[in-house]
Structure formats: structure tokens, C-alpha cells
């Protein structure tokens, strides 16, 4: 069977009570926002047979039927909490839950890989979580929400990037819907009226984080930092970076720490997970877009199981041309997550 590496699987907790036992006792009885307290409830299950939220079903759908050698799991944390300390505690609880319920799933045989969820607004808890799991070969990256409260180039986040770099962990930016209403609007122009607008524009936020990381000098300061944009929209980000290139050429005195053309940082420091909405549907036109944006080495396949964006590997493979199929479906992910060496460490 043709294999792949699936870098975007989202194991959801079924109810908030599933997380409570993993919180410190003092927080277990505190009111928590209901998971997915977002404007659109989570629709799961497109092809899944059985319970799509169960690790065993996911293992069968993704690893057995989907042909994934590995699946990188990015559990949502129910979005931003009003209290960053509680947010950090919930993230830590989700990590514990993931390790026990998914990473030890017998049907996966060690091929489920975890993300270390943190609330980046809580610095001490974020560093503690990275140190807690950073040497555990079951975890392959750090994950932060798409919508934090500041663009991710901000210097206040830098200790997190430094810690992730010390453990050789990429940092994934992924949507984390839910929360208690303390997130900023999903579009730069405010709250959209319809789901069509919401789902289209939410992903654009990641392009702003990439521009911020470049312009604030984070990639100069942390040469090992790799950011994985799980929400996709590489096409939006690439064209945004063309604009940043032009502004940089004429406003360079403002950002002298941006020593290279901004777009050049992307190749070394940013990866995008392919999304069903990226680019044109036609395979030939999609190939042209990849060439135009020099993105063949930037993209990784992620199914986004079990949400409504779920794209089975077989469908993704079909819409990719010969030259880009293998890097996107497998090899770029293997390199980005250093999967071979991590697996040896686990063995």
C-alpha cells in the first residue's frame, strides 16, 4: 500500500468531564467552558465507522485504511480560557489525557505521535510542559492556538520558542475553537456573519503570525525554530510574504534584524499543512501554484480527522501531481519531525 504521514489529526475530548481528572485537584470542580463552545458545533465523522472520537477507530481509519505510517495528533484544548493560568492547566491536562488515552492505544502500535499543548500566555506553565514531555519520544511538537492574544513574533513568546528549539520540537499553530469568548474575532475585519466567511478567513490569521515571526526577528534569534501552520492557506501566506518582501526592501531600516529577504525565511522555518481549500482544484493548475510560490518543500499532508475538513489520504494523493506527491504526502513530514530518530529513541 502507498504510505503517507498524516500530520494533522485532532483527537477531541467527548465532554469536558473527560479532562477534569487530569487537572490539579483545586481546578477539578471549577466551571469550565464546554468544549467547542464555538459558533459552529463540531461535525465529526465522514468516513469513520464506529466512534470517530475513539483512538481505536482513528487507528483503523488513518493507519490501517488510510496507509499512514504515523499520525501526528493535535488535541484541541477548548480554546482560550479567560485565565491564562487555567488555560495552561487545561493544556497540561489535555497532554496527560492524550498520553494515556491515545499515545498508548494498542491498535496504533506507537504510530500515534503527540503534540505538547500549551497556553502560550502562561509562560511558566508552557516551559514546564515542554520540559515535562520534551524528551518523551511519543511527543513530536509543541502546539499553540491559532488565535493567541498577540502575533507570535512578539518577544514575550520567545522563551517558548527557545525551549522548543532546545528539544528540537517544531511549533504547530492550529485552530483551537471553543473557549470562553475571550478570543479576538476570527477575521481582521471583525465577526463574520456566515460560516462560509468564518471558515475561509480564520485560516488567514496564520499568515499574520508568519509575517510577525519574520519581522520581529524570531527566526534570526532561533535558527532552529520551525513553525508548522496546521490551518493551511499556504497560498494566502505566500502571496502575503511577497508583500512583506516589498515593504521590507523599502522599510528595512525599521527591521535591520531581518537580514534576508522575508520570503527566504519561510523555506527554512515554516511548513504548511495542506488543506482541502488550498489553491485551485485542477491538479495541473495546483502544480503551477506550487511552482509559483516555491512551495513544494513546504507542504505536508494532514487529514484533519475527524472534523469536517477531513481529507482522506487517498483523495489528497489524487489531486497532487507526480513531482510533489511524495514530498507532501510523506518525506517533508519525516524530515520536519525527525521521525526516524524519534522512533529509534522510543524503541
Amino acid at each position: 500500500m502507498t504510505t503517507c504521514i498524516d500530520v494533522a489529526v485532532r483527537p477531541y475530548v467527548a465532554t469536558v468531564d473527560e479532562i477534569r481528572p487530569y487537572l490539579p485537584r483545586a481546578w477539578q470542580d471549577v466551571r469550565l467552558p464546554v468544549p467547542w463552545r464555538t459558533r459552529y458545533p463540531l461535525p465529526v465523522e465522514k468516513d469513520a465507522v464506529g466512534d470517530p472520537l475513539s483512538p481505536a477507530t482513528a487507528a483503523r481509519v488513518l493507519l490501517e485504511d488510510g496507509g499512514a505510517e504515523y499520525a501526528v495528533l493535535i488535541p484541541p484544548t477548548m480554546g482560550l480560557q479567560p485565565d491564562p493560568e487555567l488555560g495552561g492547566a487545561v493544556a497540561a491536562a489535555v497532554n496527560e489525557w492524550l498520553a494515556l488515552n491515545w499515545l498508548e492505544e494498542p491498535a496504533a502500535g506507537g504510530r500515534f505521535k503527540g503534540s505538547i499543548r500549551i497556553d502560550p500566555r502562561s509562560m511558566d506553565r508552557s516551559i514546564a510542559e515542554i520540559e515535562r514531555w520534551g524528551n518523551d519520544p511519543r511527543f513530536v511538537q509543541v502546539a499553540i492556538p491559532l488565535r493567541g492574544h498577540l502575533p507570535y513574533g512578539d518577544v514575550r513568546y520567545w522563551p517558548i520558542w527557545e525551549a522548543a528549539g532546545e528539544y528540537g520540537l517544531p511549533v504547530a499553530i492550529d485552530a483551537d475553537p471553543g473557549g470562553a469568548g475571550v478570543e479576538y474575532p476570527p477575521t481582521m475585519t471583525g465577526w463574520p456573519a456566515t460560516f462560509t466567511e468564518y471558515v475561509t478567513m480564520d485560516a488567514w490569521n496564520a499568515a499574520g503570525h508568519v509575517a510577525s515571526l519574520v519581522c520581529q526577528g524570531a527566526f534570526e534569534r532561533f535558527p532552529n525554530l520551525v513553525v508548522v501552520v496546521v490551518t493551511g492557506a499556504f497560498d494566502v501566506a505566500a502571496t502575503l510574504m511577497w508583500r512583506v518582501d516589498k515593504e521590507w526592501a523599502q522599510n528595512r531600516i525599521e527591521v535591520p534584524w531581518v537580514e534576508r529577504r522575508p520570503t527566504d525565511y519561510v523555506a527554512d522555518h515554516v511548513r504548511y499543512v495542506l488543506h482541502v481549500s488550498d489553491g485551485p482544484r485542477d491538479a495541473a493548475a495546483f502544480g503551477e501554484l506550487i511552482d509559483l510560490t516555491a512551495s513544494s518543500g513546504l507542504l505536508m499532508f494532514g487529514s484533519r480527522y475527524p472534523g469536517w475538513e477531513y481529507e482522506p489520504a487517498i483523495e489528497a494523493r489524487e489531486r497532487l501531481g507526480d513531482g510533489i506527491r511524495e514530498p507532501i504526502m510523506r518525506t517533508t513530514a519525516a524530515k520536519t519531525y525527525a521521525l526516524e530518530s524519534r522512533v529509534e529513541a522510543q524503541a
Partner: protein
């Protein structure tokens, strides 16, 4: 390409801190001739970015990054008097080489500029020359 010699003016007419934009053979956009603290530069008056009148821009320095042991980088002002910045969009060029400060390929043509005795440049012009004076000559 043959180089033609152009007499710009007596040196005393271009004191330090001043510039002149001269047309070569009567054609624009011309060449900017700069006296920066006694050093002379001649550079084409066209920005390769959008064709702006480069030589109307400020002669200044530029910034570079200084990295403290922790925290964000800080900008530091350096190379004062070595940089010509386009008045249109701020592209920065080294006066001496025409190269961009940013690591991009575009560059502006620069020309050799010298000060020569009046007696030596007399044959290059049709007007009267003070043979006691020094004259700025651009080779373009």
C-alpha cells in the same frame, strides 16, 4: 563602451554637504555628484525600484541589528554619510558602489569622479576654465 569625460564644476562650487545633479550630454535623468565630508561620489539619478529621482534623497546612514544577550534586537545607526536613500520608497544604496544595503540584486550605476587641474580639463569644454582651479570630472 567608450567613456566620455564630463566637467561638472570647480571643486569650490560643490563644498562638503552639497550635491549637484548634472545632465550628461544634455540628457536626463542625469547623475548626482555628491561631496560628503570631502569625499566625492557620482551616481545615476534613477532608482532601479520604480524609477524615482534617487539623487534627491537624503545622504544618511542606515540601521543594523544589535542583539542583547536576551530579549529583542535593537536598531543601531551606522555608516552615517555612506548611504543614499531614495525619496520615493526608501530603498537604500551605498554611495560608493551603488549596491543596496538590503541583500537584493538591483544596483545603481556609479561613476568615477575625480578632481583635475584646470589646465588638464581645458580641452574638454567650450567655455573658459580657470587653469589655477581644480575641477570635478565625471567619467561616464
Amino acid at each position: 563602451m567608450t567613456v566620455s569625460r564630463h566637467v561638472v564644476c570647480p571643486l569650490h562650487e560643490l563644498p562638503p554637504g552639497t550635491r549637484k545633479i548634472v545632465l550628461l550630454n544634455g540628457r536626463g535623468p542625469g547623475v548626482g555628484v555628491f561631496n560628503v565630508s570631502g569625499r566625492l561620489y557620482a551616481i545615476k539619478n534613477t532608482c532601479p525600484h520604480q524609477g524615482g529621482p534617487l539623487c534627491l534623497g537624503p545622504v544618511c546612514g542606515t540601521t543594523r541589528a544589535v542583539w542583547p544577550s536576551a530579549g529583542p534586537p535593537q536598531p543601531e545607526w551606522v555608516r552615517d554619510g555612506e548611504i543614499l536613500r531614495c525619496p520615493w520608497h526608501g530603498w537604500e544604496f551605498e554611495l560608493s558602489t551603488g549596491r543596496l544595503v538590503a541583500p537584493l540584486r538591483e544596483r545603481v550605476k556609479t561613476y568615477d569622479v575625480t578632481v583635475e587641474a584646470g589646465a588638464d580639463v581645458k580641452r574638454l569644454v567650450t567655455y573658459d576654465i580657470d587653469i589655477e582651479d581644480g575641477y570635478i570630472v565625471v567619467d561616464a
